[in-house]
């Protein structure tokens, strides 16, 4: 049990996907203009990331390893994740239109999120078991959500600031992200 908690803390704070490992930066920059959007994106990402890390574990262990084609894992994961996300979207549309309305537009975006593929590959590299993979994916998603929502709130405040002309827009957002990354370096050595 304590091992799973360590995996969670490590994925959320110490090895935060966005600020420490620099994965999933596109949705981090792209969907952080408003808090509501950021919360929708975080919920969808949490769902997909957890599911994707479990499914990619199963695909790797029961399909790629027996057939001895583990060198195809990158392509296999991309296909599996894209199919999984599309399938989830269709399923969601038919069974729960409300949830689809909340998460719907974000789901196709997530397929191109490198954090999803990153989680799957990092799980394989670390030799995690099924439960550990699921927790790692969940922790990575929680870390992503935390940082995304906080960053969205920061950017709403930043909109009011009198930023010098050459630094307006994405460049000051990048500098802010860098300073946030600096703050997260304080967690080095916790786990």
């Amino acid at each position: 049990m304590s091992e799973l908690i360590i995996i969670l803390i490590s994925a959320i704070l110490v090895n935060n996907f966005v600020l420490v490992q620099f994965l999933g930066l596109c949705p981090f920059m792209g969907s952080s203009n408003k808090i509501e959007t950021a919360i929708g994106m975080s919920a969808a990402t949490t769902f997909v990331l957890t599911l994707a890390s479990m499914v990619s574990y199963l695909v790797y262990q029961y399909l790629l390893v027996p057939l001895d084609i583990t060198w195809l894992r990158t392509i296999a994961f991309i296909v599996v994740i894209a199919a999984l996300v599309n399938f989830t979207e269709i399923l969601m549309l038919k069974t729960s239109p409300l949830l689809h309305k909340v998460l719907g537009i974000f789901l196709p975006l997530i397929t191109t999120n490198c954090a999803v593929l990153g989680v799957a590959l990092l799980n394989i590299n670390a030799g995690n078991s099924f439960v550990e993979s699921a927790f790692y994916g969940f922790g990575a998603a929680l870390g992503f959500s935390l940082v995304l929502v906080l960053f969205a709130a920061l950017r709403e405040k930043l909109n009011l600031a009198d930023v010098p002309a050459p630094f307006q827009g994405p460049s000051i957002a990048m500098i802010t992200a860098a300073l946030m990354s600096l703050a997260f370096m304080g967690f080095t050595g916790l786990v």
Binding site: E156, G186, T188
Partner: protein, 322 residues
């Protein structure tokens, strides 16, 4: 832009920015005196050097942005940043170290965001974190305080907090305490006086109502709670006594002077309590389980980073709408 001066009917004498900044500077004096008594003239020299560069960088940016020099320089905010950074960095730090720091503080953390009142992160703490990550060796070498017998050639060493974290091994707290003369009676020779000085200055600021009570109380309270919970009766796995945490490192400076920065802290009453508590808890976590000797700077930066979010969800509702 010319602002028309209107006389407010309600308040006879309001604090202007420059008056607040001057009070903050004055409140730093007891702590600075303690630092000078125990660690030599280094801090004062650093502060003068940092102050000169802070004003130079500030004027440089103002000239680039075609803003009136006199108006912005007279609010003393650059000097406050310089003094706070000068109080944080080791007294024996080389000239280029403080120069790099003040560049990051004034130009990057403050003026890229539009100057005073608009920066998202505390400038002095951004500078401190940058320096700690870029030059860890220079930043963790503190001058050895007066009153500790050392070999003649040793002029600098680890602080009491740092010693406690790195060299204790599996010893009991009391055992380790009595072996090292650096610990003094409460939290380390010199450190208890330095923190006491900043506590005194902080109380003056509280009395003058320049800072609110919420952030210091929440921060010190949560730090006290965490250190009492994990004190563990001084066993070998203990995180150190609550006294060591409250009066060690930069606790009091952080609680009264840095976390209370009105620009980067949370602004709602309830939000300030949450913000202060968060800083206290993160400080303890980084001090005890993290890799850096003191967690104040990172904790304040993380607090700054969550402040807009805390504000967003703690907006007080007007009583008629409740």
């Amino acid at each position: 832009m010319a602002v028309k001066k209107i006389k407010l009917p309600t308040k006879l004498k309001a604090f202007s920015t420059s008056l607040i900044m001057l009070w903050v500077l004055a409140a730093c004096i007891p702590g600075l005196v303690a630092l000078t008594v125990f660690f030599g003239w280094g801090s004062i020299i650093n502060i003068i050097w940092l102050g000169i560069w802070a004003l130079l960088f500030e004027s440089m940016v103002l000239v680039f942005r075609k803003r009136p020099l006199g108006f912005y320089l007279k609010d003393y905010s650059a000097l406050v940043t310089a003094v706070l950074l000068g109080l944080c960095i080791p007294p024996s730090s080389p000239w280029w170290l403080s120069l790099t720091g003040i560049f990051f503080a004034i130009v990057i953390a403050k003026h890229l965001y539009g100057g005073l009142g608009q920066n998202l992160f505390n400038p002095a703490m951004v500078a401190y974190a940058v320096l700690l990550i870029a030059f860890p060796l220079e930043m963790t070498n503190w001058t050895i305080p007066l009153g500790i017998e050392q070999e003649i050639d040793a002029y600098t060493g680890a602080t009491a907090l740092d010693l406690f974290r790195n060299e204790r091994g599996a010893m009991l707290v009391n055992e380790f305490w009595s072996q090292h003369s650096a610990f003094g009676t409460l939290s380390g020779i010199g450190w208890e006086w330095v923190n006491g000085g900043f506590l005194l200055g902080g109380l003056v600021l509280l009395y003058k109502r320049i800072i609110g009570w919420q952030i210091p109380v929440a921060m010190l309270g949560s730090l006290l709670l965490m250190s009492a919970l994990f004190y563990d009766g001084g066993s070998s796995a203990s995180g150190g006594s609550p006294f060591m945490h409250l009066f060690g490192g930069g606790t009091m400076l952080g609680a009264f002077f840095i976390a209370t920065d009105p620009v980067t802290a949370s602004t709602t009453p309830k939000g300030r309590l949450i913000y202060g508590a968060l800083i206290g808890i993160v400080t303890y976590i980084i001090r005890v389980w993290g890799a850096y000797p003191d967690g104040i700077a990172f904790a304040v930066l993380l607090g700054n980073f969550t402040a807009p979010f805390i504000d967003y969800y703690t907006q007080p509702t007007p009583s008629q709408h409740a």
